[in-house]
């Protein structure tokens, strides 16, 4: 790699069968043609496809001063849909990966025994996992104790992943993730318990880049997010149930932001000590960070116990929305019954499809009132359903549902390729192709780079992944509506 800015220039290739790690160069052609994130992940996926790769990649702008530049992307064949899919890693995971000295990690094959991957300071080690058998919270604690650093970021699986449940989700530290495609099961099949990251590395950005990012930041904070914070505001915008919104309001402790993000969307709810307690007390586990509004809302039938059910999903490494739907179907109406059922789900091969519950090719739907506009993005099956299938706080962009779905998909593609939080791009209308292309142009010293080029790369990526996927797959009859089939065709045709 000749470029000196934004990337380390390294791809880590981990072969779980041989137990060896190799390093490849991140070549100029990949960066120039695909920029990064999901688009380079797809190229790496194609290169290594016979080995069932699981790829974790950072974007061109991940871990920079660009607002919302926290994201990395997991790409692999979803064990749920059987198709290539993407899930974002947000909070501190993406930046920690880039600061390890590796921009992309390709994980190949299956290990014969439980292992963990320890990536730090330009080094990578495959180690035996004595965390196998522990839940997610115990695993994160053990990893940090083992490596002697509370700032280790971890991508882990819990019992659900170990048992190869289709409901298994990878977890970022303790709090689940935006994985709705069963990548937790894929890690379980690979016998990969955890990827632990600690990076104290360094990379360059261009002169002038910082100031341009601050200009964009100031525009954003004085825009639609001004005066807003927390997951409750997002829930209000999406019209999730009043019951859940009042639970959030009652238990809210502090809101957290992902790296470099102006909107703190992660709200910590306290239920084992007063919610406004700001000191570090003897209560070691006072509550839960709400990273998944869809999952919390799906547990709305448990009322004030919904956050504790979500916590149990996080501990077991279960995808919360699908799990909540299955718990409700099993007739469990209180926390004790729900926890018992979740324990069973973490050991079962049950799924939404099998249970006859609403799903998009097996993936859980958002628990909001469906419309063609919100159904088309979810049915496309390319990007995680953890992100709302519509704009938040602002009016949708486009004259009709198909145009709005195209706009949503292009925004997601841009976010997943550049390393921007895909939720933040739906919150902040200031994050335009024009502005982001301008930042890419500055930091890469690409004089001819433009919004049109960025748009073209996103469209080409979408066209390719749509072609590889074939179609939307099975959609539960309850989610079908007039215009869906034609709309999906129109959306996919628009990227050609």
């Amino acid at each position: 790699m000749d470029y000196i800015n934004n990337y380390n220039g390294n791809i880590l290739v981990v072969d779980l069968e041989s137990g060896k790690c190799d390093q490849e160069e991140l070549e100029n052609a990949l960066i120039e043609g695909y920029l990064g994130g999901a688009a380079i992940n797809l190229e790496l996926y194609k290169k290594y496809s016979p080995r069932d790769p699981l790829i974790i990649g950072t974007g061109l702008l991940t871990s920079t001063f660009v607002p919302g530049s926290c994201a990395a992307v997991i790409t692999g064949k979803s064990p749920i849909t059987g198709k290539i899919a993407n899930a974002p890693l947000t909070w501190q995971t993406g930046i920690e990966l880039k600061l390890t000295g590796f921009d992309f990690v390709v994980i190949l094959g299956k290990s014969a025994k439980p292992v963990k991957l320890w990536i730090h300071d330009g080094l990578a080690d495959i180690e035996d996992s004595n965390e196998w058998g522990k839940d997610v919270w115990e695993t994160v604690d053990a990893l940090r104790h083992n490596y002697g650093d509370d700032m280790v970021e971890a991508i882990v699986i819990g019992p659900a992943g170990e048992n190869c449940s289709p409901l298994a989700q990878v977890s970022e530290n303790y709090w689940g993730s935006k994985d709705k495609f069963g990548f937790g099961k894929l890690m379980g099949e690979k016998k990969l318990k955890a990827v632990a990251l600690r990076g104290l590395g360094t990379f360059e950005v261009a002169d002038g880049f910082f100031d341009e990012c601050i200009t964009l930041l100031r525009e954003i904070v004085s825009g639609v997010i001004n005066g807003k914070q927390g997951i409750g505001e997002i829930g209000k915008s999406l019209k999730v149930s009043e019951g859940i919104l009042s639970v959030i309001k009652e238990m809210a402790h502090r809101d957290n932001a992902c790296f470099s993000c102006p909107y703190p969307c992660l709200t910590f709810l306290k239920y084992h000590e007063p919610s406004k307690e700001m000191k570090s007390t003897d209560v070691k586990e006072p509550g839960c960070l709400i990273t998944d509004l869809s999952g919390l809302a799906a547990f709305g039938f448990l009322g004030k116990d919904a956050p504790q059910a979500l916590e149990q999903c996080f501990r077991l490494g279960l995808e919360p929305t699908a799990s909540a739907m299955l718990v409700e179907k099993a007739g469990k109406k209180d926390l004790a019954g729900a926890k018992e059922e979740l324990e069973k789900l973490s050991k079962s091969q049950g799924s939404l499809k099998e249970a006859g519950l609403p799903h998009f090719d097996g993936v859980s739907p958002w628990p909001i009132i469906p419309s063609l506009e919100t159904t088309l993005p979810q049915a496309s099956g390319i990007f995680s359903n953890a992100v709302p299938p519509q704009m938040v706080f602002v009016n949708p962009q486009g004259d009709n549902p198909q145009a709005r779905a195209v706009s949503w998909l292009k925004k997601q593609a841009m976010a997943y390729i550049l390393g921007i939080c895909p939720l933040f791009t739906l919150i902040s209308p200031e994050m335009t192709e024009d502005k982001l292309a301008g930042l890419v142009k500055i930091t890469m010293n690409w004089e001819n780079f433009s919004a049109e080029k960025l748009s073209g790369i996103c469209s080409r990526y979408l066209a390719e992944i749509c072609a590889m996927q074939g179609g939307a797959g099975e959609i539960h009859p309850s989610l079908k509506m007039d215009g869906l089939d034609a709309g999906l065709k129109e959306v996919k045709e628009s990227f050609k």
Partner: protein, 112 residues
């Protein structure tokens, strides 16, 4: 004149930490920063530590605290320790205003 923190407004985005490093080293990294994010994650207890010339300033959620040489840092676990090795805040000498102040999206940091 020193940096001041409205601690409860902080949401832990770490933009200030990386902006500070950029002032000192002109690159992206947390290592050269005078500011460091610390946390007890399961308790949602987090804040920033600032290395000043002759003290450490802890922007703790329950209120700020200054640690003088010889005093023990409490809280923050192992994540609060390496700050002792960092370069001290110089209020971004040569800049129109400190880069952490510019980069903070929530106006947590001010100079007073």
């Amino acid at each position: 004149m020193e940096l001041q923190f409205d601690t409860l407004k902080c949401d832990g985005c770490r933009a200030c930490e990386f902006a500070c490093n950029y002032h000192h080293d002109r690159n992206i990294s947390p290592l050269g920063s005078s500011l460091m994010y610390y946390r007890e994650e399961k308790k949602n207890y987090y804040g920033m530590v600032l290395k000043r010339e002759k003290s450490l300033f802890l922007a703790k959620p329950e209120g700020p605290e200054t640690i003088l040489p010889g005093q023990q840092v409490k809280g923050g676990g192992a994540s609060a320790k390496p700050i002792l090795l960092r370069v001290a805040c110089d209020l971004c000498k040569g800049e129109e205003k400190p880069l952490c102040v510019k980069a903070c999206p929530r106006d947590v940091i001010s100079v007073a």
